[in-house]
Symmetry: D2
Subunit: 379 residues, 4 copies
């Protein structure tokens, strides 16, 4: 209340304001900016170039041991609009993690959930509650809330990948818990196939009648492989007769998002095509896997290349124009907004609006078809 809006010289009001202040109270009529006609978003559109992320990751690998500070060698994307907070958008942490050959990042767990998306390279293993998952180009690997996870690189080559966490959301809810793993020694197991994939990665709709108990709130499948994703993208484009499409990664047993706080999607745009321009409430992080073109976010236009990470702030339209075939991974906080009844979507190309229904989180209606209801159970 640096400045007062009313009656600056009224001694009675002065006294009231004094007593309110002493009583840890504030008068609403002196507060502004609380209820705005549209979201007042501080985050700005931004691009972190993949080439620079790789180079700085490598440089950090040379200079900083992995065991310093959180046992992870991570560079966090800081949205320039967020005043120095280490967040890519106001609700998502995005970063690159760099692991040199023969390095290990030992086990810990935390209530913020994380996902790993690999733009290039292979050979590192992530263990999630002891289940060894190989990481390779185009794969999505989940380390859900409160699962122990660790990484080890048995080979000589370094590897870099993108991490996205829901840390800002969990922190805003005062619900961050953290625990070191049971051992300081890394578990350097590998496996031809993770148990998660052995049980739940079968063909579409095929699930074991008996097996490990299904985890609450999240997918039992922890790795989504590029070979499957690539084939599914082709099949949908072919079936739709379309030039671009978006797939969502979902729980293969119960449907619904892979985790309750982060929606994962992948968009393929064939050379020359452009997606619709869409905005929705909540933030989004993009990561270019293949191809080049332009990504428009609000009034900004970014030329993109593989490895680029981009920030799409809340209620900011974005679209992609592909110079050559583009594959674009994307994470958003949409499950949170859906669950709380706060999702709004506006397709600026088609003019369609949408307020997503709970249990109907088909909010990214990028595509000129009827929107699929991808909600699921997760009871």
């Amino acid at each position: 209340m640096a400045t007062r809006r009313f009656s600056a010289t009224d001694p009675d009001l002065d006294q009231l304001y004094q007593r309110l202040s002493e009583g840890s109270l504030q008068p609403l009529w002196e507060l502004s900016g609380l209820l705005t006609s549209e979201p007042r978003v501080r985050g700005v559109p931004h691009r972190w170039p993949g080439s620079e992320l790789r180079e700085l990751g490598s440089r950090a690998g040379d200079l900083v041991p992995v065991d310093r500070g959180g046992d992870r060698r991570v560079l966090a994307c800081c949205n320039p609009g967020l005043g120095g907070a280490p967040y890519a958008v106001s609700t998502l942490w995005a970063a690159v993690q760099y692991l040199r050959g023969h390095e290990v990042a030992p086990a810990h767990r935390h209530t913020p959930a994380a996902l790993r998306f690999i733009v290039e390279g292979q050979g590192v293993w992530t263990l999630v509650d002891g289940d060894a998952l190989h990481m390779g180009t185009g794969d999505l690997v989940l380390t859900p809330s409160w699962t122990f996870h660790e990484h080890h690189n048995p080979g000589p080559e370094p590897m870099i990948w993108m991490d996205v966490l829901d840390l800002p959301v969990v922190a805003a809810l005062d619900a961050v818990f953290f625990e070191e793993g049971p051992s300081e020694d890394a578990d350097t197991r590998t496996a031809a196939r993770s148990a998660s994939e052995g049980w739940f990665g079968g063909g579409p709709g095929l699930v074991p009648v008996a097996g490990p108990p299904l985890p609450q709130h999240r997918s039992p499948l922890l790795a989504y492989r590029w070979a499957d994703t690539d084939r599914a993208l082709d099949a949908v484009l072919d079936t739709a007769g379309a030039r671009w499409t978006t797939l969502r990664y979902t729980d293969p047993v119960r449907g619904g998002d892979v985790m309750p706080t982060m929606r994962c999607e992948i968009t393929r745009v064939l050379a020359g095509a452009s997606t619709d321009s869409v905005r929705q409430t909540g933030g989004r992080v993009l990561c270019v896997l293949h191809g080049s073109g332009e990504v428009h976010i609000g009034a900004e236009r970014f030329d993109v290349a593989p490895g680029d990470i981009l920030a799409v702030p809340s209620w900011t339209p974005w679209s992609v124009h592909a110079a050559d075939d583009v594959d674009l991974f994307s994470t958003s906080d949409a499950p949170v907004l859906d669950a709380l009844g706060l999702m709004r979507v506006q397709n600026l190309t088609t003019g369609q609006d949408g307020t997503a229904a709970r249990g109907a989180d088909h909010v990214t209606a990028l595509h000129p078809h009827t929107t699929t209801d991808l909600s699921g159970a997760h009871r």
Copy 2:
């Protein structure tokens, strides 16, 4: 009320009984067998040998044109205990359908849902609401309630497959509707891949954000291919380190059974292994896809071979002993019993009982692991 339990010579009671009868009323105390300590099941364990089904199907093909009587050349399995009703168990119709080369079975639809399971052969196409699905060995093809469906055989070879319908259930509810297709001419389209599979048959958990509207009550995926099923069976056996396992066919987008009235499962038993002996409320139909061995149903023991269809009546224990590796397809009315809170399961090998929870239709706990909760949304 042929015989009276009480007061056979009391004239007052005679008069009361007379008035009750005139008033379309019956005295409960004269009725017996209504509430029995365990289900009084009239269906009996039975096997229809595959060799005979093939031979009789072929013979029918020689003698009976396909366009007679429902436009289908179908032989229905009649459980000997059901007094001539054309049902394999009291709640399921099972049959073989035989289509000669170049024959067509034109479109119709009905509220009873059907599934097709192919034991041997290929080359026939089933169109479901115009979507062309190829049928080949080991495939499961769905023609859900009230979808138009037709079959055509463009090649010279005849083909036979198993049909299972929920007809007894729908009939008991007085809810049978039927409609001829819009045209008498068959639609003889084929397609390299059905639209159903193009949209919803991608890798595990990968679904399009926008696409055709999801159907209510049932899976949007209409064909489950043997190559996927075979690979998933191997993966689960390998991951579990087990000698036998059961997979359920589910809705790949929302989870849950493929149709609201019929549960579809496939069991692989490696040579020399035996499944647990389990019984549950409701009926089941088995169909041997591969291998040979013994199927025990109640007190009966059947030597089985590919193409055999078997009836497992309600509350009757069944198990499989594999001589060589056995693949056994299975359909039950379990979704109905689950939805109505009437499912009971008893594993006679492990001694475990279960009353399945609604929204937890993991009822066929054949496997010595924790049972997977395969319930889904289908909202």
Copy 3:
């Protein structure tokens, strides 16, 4: 197959039919009436007059002790179209039960669920798993599947009420189990308020955070009192500015029908008003609580009075015209048809059709308003 449709004199076909018969197989093309364009309903519209039910109940009370045959003095309504089966419609048992002063009907339980609706009188107590529920005029009392229940009449006056059970459905699924109570001696407890009502019968939407575990599949509230129902009917009519309306009895904690097999509703029609004429798949039983008028069922017209029980067969339109204010209790198998995707509704007055969505069991669209989605969870 008394008569053959084809080739009556073809010896090859004779031989095939002979072999089919020996093999427990039937040719579909010789079967007729399996798939009909509309449901072939055997049950017929019928009325059992309340005056007669009371008189015959009383006469049975004079002549037949309560402990004979099922420990209940019950007269079952037998629909004249059902060939002697003791069912009011093909999926519902309806009956009157008569208990003389100082009589008891000891505890048992069965998987078929039951409900009691009291047209007149009071003073009998029903114990459900030991919870004592008083029965009075206009009350609905539930004895859900597999709950022990018993009745006792501590006073001198006899009492009669209507029982409805889902017995035909449970029997068709071969899922009837029955068990005598732990003791032959009746538990003659009474209570100022049942525990069920104490915990879950509070104001609308008020439920205890901690209490007895919620039962699966059904409402934790076991009695719905007339005073509440009467007041709610008035409030809705007044708010809607309507002359007739229907309320559904639902689970007050999780929403949805009170039991998974039977929907309970009450319709109030003010003097001179008529309800829409509506038909839906599945059967219904009506019971007149107050008032007189005409009930039209199909082509039949019945003059009705309190205590009358009426049968509405599947897919048969029905409506009510009130001479003086009518209150009409109604039970149907609609939750079953909803769960299985088999519900169809047609309002012949407004011309609106409906196929009810799963999770949207708003099927009895009797009212010219937007239909309320009354589906619930029952997980």
Copy 4:
């Protein structure tokens, strides 16, 4: 990064840090406090005395016209630990609103949801999308997300009540939208009963089959009356034979919390009794309706009286000891934490821990009974 943890004098690292800073990147190993073993909660336990709130509200009424600043005369509770932010706890806005006789607060709507709880007085009307709801002592009145709402006071007496909003959560998600009402003139309607209550406020479990469409994400019932709440509290205490209990306000049609972001509960503690000491993730605001006693929050002890508002920060134990019979209204962000899988509960009195399941938001296990599953559908 004011201070550096590593290699403060390494010029290579200096250069890396310089480049990271230029690239809007931060090294994780220099960040601390992101992942803490337990939530690092800035909010502190606090009490705003009811007497002071009433006095300052009245004084504001004398000095400040209602039409200044947001059209509401509101004093916001500012938790002393939150650095001046006008929030009672980090996720909830709590305030008192004061309306003088004959004043109006005209219509607007916003995505943050609000509730009103009345400690004392009556006579003001809140209109929610045009439905007139009277406000009286002990009533809970909802103005859900994006519903137009306005208040008018037709009588001469001023009135004060508590407002709670989920504003901090909606703001953190960049999802605040606001709109003025269609007219600057207040709608001064009153009604003997709101339409919301007429349709959905009937007896427990009684809901109209047809009526206004059910709103998504929230209860269709907008007012919970003290007479109902009081009676339900008595009934539960009596049935449980307990000295204290907590009721939750839920959607009477579908179950589940009244709004997706705020859980509303009321606790009655009889004179001399104490509740368990419980902590859970997420913040809570208490408001004393009746009685006096002690509220313990963390290490603080507050003597309380009617009208007091108290802040319970995340993961801080709280309990109540009643000097005379206490009724305590309570709001928390628990539905958010439940939906995101972030709810943890610890009962320090009984030693029981809990991680609430999604769809099982029985998180405030204050009571020594089995916890009720109060989850609902809201589809």
